[in-house]
Symmetry: C2
Subunit: 373 residues, 2 copies
DNA sequence: TTGGTTTGTGCAATCGGTTGCACTATTTTA
DNA sequence: TAAAATAGTGCAACCGATTGCACAAACCAA
């Protein structure tokens, strides 16, 4: 009698059989997971007792604890985090949602720096970091939902905030714990965030320019739907106004966080009438691009035009013309974002807002034409 | 009758009660997890059927599939990843083990770049990235064990390899799937890795120096227990030998991946007799430090001494004197490390070794005193 | 001695899925 | 037309923990 191999049931069976064989082979080496029950059996107690020993329950006698502990050591037992997560409805993971521009993200040292702080913070509290891996650009919400709805994380860190931020709205609507790096677009006591005072930073930077004798100050910013950009533009405008200078909208350029933006607007900048004698730029890389262009066009920095920017990355220090830049302390932003999140998770703390101090590193690019100081 | 509050049982009860109240409150908003059984109930089928609909089993009729699907949509069902992990013994997570130097890691753009590739690769295959968060410096093995023994990940990516690497030995000993960025210290068909040909890169770079008329070539390297360093030193030595030049051990300096190393050895370098007319450095940041020192000491680059290094980071392009640097293509290293790991996980592939091409970006710092080309 | 505590442990349900196997109804084959 | 194969679904065990409650033994006060 022929066996009909078209019989998919058999195929299934074979498949599952070979699966088992493979698993078996693998399991000989790996998958030698010692379980709680194994320990219990060896120690002659019930699994619940072992579980209580692990959590150091006060209801287990010292003698039993020691005996069980010994068995655990001997068997090399290590609790299965997945099973524990399921039972306790807690994962021990914190999800980090990175802006999904792919190219940009790690180019700008702000994110790696922040991530370093995050990792460090998580380590001290015993959490692991789950990184969002969006395939689609701009689809952070999808990553968030994947993490949240699949219960893969206990809480989230959002690394940026925008106006009418969908991510924030969603998380608030389902009341899921998160902390934000940046200032939220709405006041809501449930939002824990950490940020610099970007308004003041830009304000102070602009004032500093003015104190150095500059009066026609331009700005190159990024997408103003990003709160950080918005705040900086506001601070800049306010300083101009407070000093009774005029702030033409022509003087504000909107680009992105790359060198190209610096090239492009550096060129346009010097075409303005009257020509600016200073420019504030929201990122070092952009500033660097602008400097290159301006130098190429034979403008002198800082004599003809002063330049200052944000992030205080390595290139601001080591560019041909070292330029003034605001250190936002990205590492601490990351670290504190974890602190407040963990406090929210473990102690139910709310309404935490932490302002991380910035620091203006003054360099050659903003030296005065004539100093008023 | 008084209630004895010292009765810890009662205290426990109260605690658990308040816990429940809190949980209850929370669960009103969050924790509205729709489960498989809910869907099953609504669709009037058994949970197993729903599960099979999710996995699109061929054994469920089209009609049932559609009906169940509709119920899932209506209820907003989303499978719980934890429960699934437990049942399938697969997490969908890949652990990334970063060298645990804390400060160094993100300072050097190599790691962020690599991580970017890793994240991108993981996204295409639908895996999430779990980052190692070692508290103790140099204690990657602990992180690895935490991930592996707790079953938090399906596989691992190691971002560096050393001689007699404990991490590799451990993973091999328990036969746990991983891929390596770098070349392993031992031949083992079970190790899948991706690397540059660091020997050839250094060899070629050295030859290039020689072709430019240099004959006394020094090297500043990092810890030679790191395979990457070892290979580069070997390539360098070989090139020297092949050209019948002498390679004094004095010409080789061992430091770390920071500017300080550049400062220190830049200074020592020019004290050597005979004085080197070229130096190969294993990292841009170090090279940058060296350049600063040398310039400070009034040495001309490239006239007095040529400089070349590795990683082609932004500072190699934009330093006052742009310097020659080898682009190791960190992004692709990361991306491929995921590719081979996933192939190992899902298809049992072994013995994969991928060499990512490097590219020497030639810049001003290696222009010849006199060109032989 | 008796009834009430206090202590220490185990039972069994639960977390939310997956899957081998059994079972029925329908179709195909001879 | 009877036997065999196929299709569609459900039962129940299982993944590896946690935890409310029950229960037995030891202890204590009156």
């Amino acid at each position: 009698m022929f066996i009909s191999y078209s019989n998919y049931r058999i195929q299934e069976k074979i498949q599952s059989l070979s699966f088992y064989i493979k698993q078996e082979v693998i399991s000989l080496a790996r998958k030698n997971q010692v379980t709680l029950s194994d320990v219990a059996k060896k120690a002659g107690v019930s699994p619940s007792t072992v579980s209580r020993v692990i959590s150091d329950s006060s209801r287990i006698s010292k003698a039993t604890k020691e005996r069980v502990q010994k068995c655990m050591d001997e068997l090399g037992y290590y609790p299965n985090a997945i099973a524990r997560s399921l039972a306790k409805n807690k994962t021990g993971n914190i999800g980090v949602i990175m802006p999904s521009r792919d190219e940009d993200i790690f180019l700008n040292p702000f994110f790696p720096e922040t991530l370093r702080g995050i990792v460090k913070g998580a380590a001290t509290f015993g959490y692991d970091i789950l990184l969002s891996t969006n395939t689609e650009v701009g689809d952070e919400l999808q990553s968030i939902k994947n993490f949240v709805r699949a219960s893969k994380v206990d809480g989230l860190v959002l690394m940026s905030s925008r106006i009418n931020d969908d991510n924030i709205s969603y998380l608030l609507s389902i009341d899921f714990p998160f902390s934000l790096i940046g200032t939220p677009y709405i006041e809501d006591s449930r939002i824990n965030y950490v940020d610099n005072d970007n308004f003041m930073a830009a304000y102070e930077l602009t004032k500093y320019m003015i104190s150095k004798g500059r009066s026609k100050i331009a700005m190159i910013a990024a997408d103003p739907s990003l709160l950080v950009t918005k705040k900086r533009i506001e601070g800049y405008k306010r300083a101009i106004k407070d000093c009774n200078l005029t702030c033409d909208e022509d003087y504000i350029f909107i680009g992105s966080f790359d060198e190209e933006t610096g090239f492009k607007f550096g060129r346009e900048l010097i075409g303005l009438v009257p020509r600016p004698d200073a420019v504030i730029i929201t990122d070092d890389l952009v500033a660097f691009g602008a400097i290159q262009v301006l130098e190429g066009l034979k403008f002198k920095i800082p004599e003809d035009i002063a330049i200052a920017s944000f992030n205080n990355s390595i290139i601001s220090r080591y560019s041909q013309i070292p330029f003034t830049s605001v250190d936002v302390n990205a590492h601490d932003l990351g670290l504190e974002s974890i602190n407040i999140l963990v406090e929210a998770l473990e102690k139910g703390m709310q309404n935490r807002r932490i302002i991380i101090p910035y620091e203006i590193h003054k360099r050659q690019s903003t030296e005065g034409m004539f100093s008023t100081e």
